[in-house]
């Protein structure tokens, strides 16, 4: 099991934001907002930013390779695809945490899974092909792990715009 620590030991980490060049910053800020769906999308963005198209593509490639970007591509709205989507939480005793993590992560329906510091200490997103798949997957997780799963589907979504300025 690979677990990435989220909080680095010191603020002077090697991947400090000051390491980004102005071009990288501009690309990160601009491309979070979305690629225009035009015939020449990369060229149009590159022109906006005042750089060469090949430069933009090379930077994207490099930032994906070094993990600055986790993805570049379409962001799907799973709910709009007709599938099921929910947030779920579990209360797992420390002694069982590692075993249950492996079991929960083994489900391909589990898209993200975070440890959080609370009595409910495991939080994951479930995405299933059909809306009915959520209840069925939760039942399978409960059977496999032996612990209850608290289902917290969204009842209402309030509009936001995710943007990390660098």
């Amino acid at each position: 099991m690979s677990v990435m620590a989220e909080r680095p030991p010191s603020p002077q980490s090697s991947d400090d934001i000051s390491d980004f060049t102005n071009t990288e910053r501009a690309i990160i800020n601009r491309l979070q907002l979305g690629l225009p769906l035009t015939e020449t999308p990369y060229r149009d963005v590159a022109e906006d930013l005042g750089i060469d198209e090949q430069d933009l593509l090379d930077h994207l490639q490099a930032m994906l390779a070094d993990g600055t970007l986790t993805r570049f591509g379409p962001m799907f709205h799973a709910g709009e695809m007709g599938g099921g989507l929910t947030l779920a939480a579990m209360r797992i005793p420390e002694a069982d945490f590692e075993r249950v993590t492996e079991q929960v992560n083994s489900f391909e329906e589990v898209a993200h899974n975070y440890r959080r510091e609370h009595e409910l200490n495991m939080w994951f997103v479930l995405a299933t092909e059909t809306p009915g798949g959520i209840a069925e997957t939760i039942e399978r997780i409960e059977t496999l792990t032996g612990y209850p799963v608290y289902n917290m589907p969204k009842e209402q979504e309030f509009h936001v715009h995710l943007h990390f300025e660098v």
Binding site: Q32, M75, R116
Partner: protein
């Protein structure tokens, strides 16, 4: 087909193929539509049109870069959760969502006695103090309608694969 009627109404087989072909990423070449079209046996103009339609209908939010926010210095990720009066949450949730530093904002069910919070607002910051300050601004918006809150910090990413569309099964 194993998928629901709902889904087949929303997504054509060609749309599904495009999603399958790009969920790991859009080709990083000058003309990504032609590249995808040649993979799927579809004219480039149709690829682009299908993307435009999926974006207009909301199947695709946008085609965008997803940063690793830890690498960008946003290392503190606080899931702020609030116990908000049921008759006020619809209006107040909108106002919390409008705060520029909130990345996700949802109403979700309570699970008493373990969980009394019905409003979730994800806040990212470059320090714990920054997250706390931002939570304070949410508290200001909610005022007396809120009877309790807490901030859940994530201490480890246990899994992060993103939302994937899986291959359709052939069995009925």
């Amino acid at each position: 087909m194993s998928t629901s009627t709902l889904k087949s109404e929303l997504l054509s087989d060609q749309d599904r193929e495009l999603i399958m072909a790009t969920q790991a990423g859009l080709p990083l070449v000058s003309d990504p539509w032609t590249e995808l079209g040649s993979q799927l046996g579809m004219p480039a103009s149709e690829v682009l049109e299908r993307f435009q339609k999926m974006q207009a209908s909301g199947v695709i939010r946008r085609v965008a870069a997803v940063p690793n926010h830890y690498k960008l210095g946003y290392r503190f990720n606080g899931m702020t959760v609030w116990d908000v009066a049921d008759d006020a949450i619809a209006e107040l949730g909108e106002r919390v969502g409008e705060l520029p530093f909130v990345s996700h904002c949802y109403r979700r069910p309570r699970h008493l006695p373990y969980w009394s919070y019905n409003l979730f607002a994800m806040v990212h910051g470059t320090s714990g103090d920054e997250v706390e300050d931002k939570a304070g601004r949410i508290a200001d918006v909610l005022g007396d309608a809120c009877s309790g809150h807490t901030i859940l910090y994530s201490s480890a990413i246990l899994k992060k694969t993103g939302l994937r569309l899986r291959k359709q099964k052939d069995n009925g």
